[in-house]
Amino acid sequence: MLFSLILDISYAIMGAGIGAGLAAIGAGIGIGRIGGSAMEAMARQPESANKLQNSMLVIAALVEVAALFALVICLLISFKTA
């Protein structure tokens, strides 16, 4: 019984690590897409580059926070079990 208990905790920590990695992938994909479309639009119309850059930063902050939600939960798991 003790062995199965240790097995569960290690699975939880592993899950936390995998979750944090997936959160990073999600942030990367989201912000990459924002940056990509911002680059395309700026290349099309260089005069609006400043406006596009400001909007890009704001939306990147919103998407990043969504990834940070997942990161905080993974941190909580790892701190509760450590």
Binding site: A61, L71, F79
Partner: protein, 348 residues
């Protein structure tokens, strides 16, 4: 030729200063020669990284600036048996050991009276930080307001000229487009909100400072204020859109109704969690990288992490401004939606 030379000098400085900083910060990460370390029980051979990080991010009754420079903050507790009590939180600590004070004990920053929970109204680290933030805001904006009164019709000077573009940015980019014609009534609140969050975020990045906007209670109060203002100012259009959504068949309206009611509460909840998570996660990343130096005990790791910390701190400055902007923008958006008056089409 002369202008080229000073440009190059600035570039060289910009490259050398971070390296200088990076080379000298790990000094504090190395352990001492063991003069008093070996004697003490908590000889820091094994640093519990997660505890250190969580302690730095959470609230506490004693303000630690360094290992030895601490500021014990006042404790204000109320119990039915003992009434209102004021005492210094230093009473709970004796040479880094936690001791009980009379009938009061402290356990992980929770105070108990004879093992019963108490009403804790203490001035903790975050409360003191809140006072400092408010004092800073009063100082700066008091100066700006007085300057406007004294220099009527003249060009702005000093702090006034520094704050004016930011204030105009909030007014023209955040408040006016989102709230519409009646924006003047809500402008003071949104300005206060924006600068409170902005200064709170920036103050939290200073060394030795407390994590003010990374405290979920603080952000929950700000979101609760948004909730109150939105719903108190909601006019007939707002409430009719929630309870009796126009333009959809009746069967769908019954399904949309609970979703809309939950939506009233998820909006401030999202505001709370967004600001809290953005600031706290930034601090945790900085602290985790700094702890790497302590774990590896190596000069090279120290230099590398100092440089990475420098760049992440620059990103944190950007995040401080962006999160203040986003919070203020969503608040004015919700207020604008609540007080919106539009022409009724025939489909309503």
């Amino acid at each position: 030729m002369k202008r080229l030379f000073s440009h190059q000098k600035h570039m060289i400085l910009a490259l050398l200063l971070p390296l200088f900083f990076a080379f000298f910060s790990p000094v504090f990460g190395q352990h001492g020669d063991g003069e008093h370390q070996a004697a003490e029980q908590h000889a820091k051979a094994e640093m519990n990284v997660s505890d250190v990080i969580i302690d730095h991010v959470k609230d506490s009754h004693v303000w630690h600036f360094t290992e030895s420079v601490v500021l014990p903050l006042p404790v204000i507790v109320y119990t039915k048996e003992d009434g209102l009590k004021f005492f210094s939180s230093g009473n709970f600590y004796e040479h880094h050991q936690v001791v009980p004070y009379g009938d009061y004990t402290i356990d992980h920053e929770h105070i108990f009276y004879k093992s019963q929970p108490v009403l804790d109204l203490s001035i903790t680290k975050n409360v003191a930080m809140l006072f400092i933030n408010s004092a800073l805001m009063l100082l700066i904006f008091g100066t700006v307001a007085r300057a406007y009164g004294k220099r009527k019709g003249l060009a702005p000077k000093g702090v006034q000229s520094f704050m004016e573009p930011i204030i105009l940015f909030v007014k023209d980019e955040i408040v006016k487009p989102n709230i519409g014609p009646k924006y003047w009534k809500f402008l003071p609140y949104i300005l206060t909100l924006f600068f409170f969050i902005f200064f709170g975020n920036l103050l939290g990045l200073l060394p030795g400072a407390a994590n003010l906007t990374g405290n979920i209670a603080v952000t929950a109060c700000l979101a609760a204020l948004t909730f109150v203002i939105t719903n108190v100012n909601g006019n007939k259009n707002y409430w009719s859109h929630i309870f009796w959504t126009p333009g959809v068949p009746n069967a769908l309206r019954i399904i949309i109704l609970p979703v809309e009611i939950i939506g009233i509460f998820t909006k401030p909840f999202a505001l709370t969690v967004r600001l809290f998570v953005a600031i706290t996660a930034g601090h945790i990343v900085l602290l985790a990288l700094t702890s790497l130096t302590f774990i590896f005990q190596s000069w090279f790791v120290g230099i590398g992490t100092s440089l990475v910390n420098l760049f992440i701190s620059l990103i944190e400055l950007l995040v401080a401004a962006i999160q203040a902007y986003v919070f203020a923008m969503f608040t004015s958006l919700y207020i604008g939606q609540a007080i919106e008056e539009h022409e009724h089409h025939d489909s309503h």
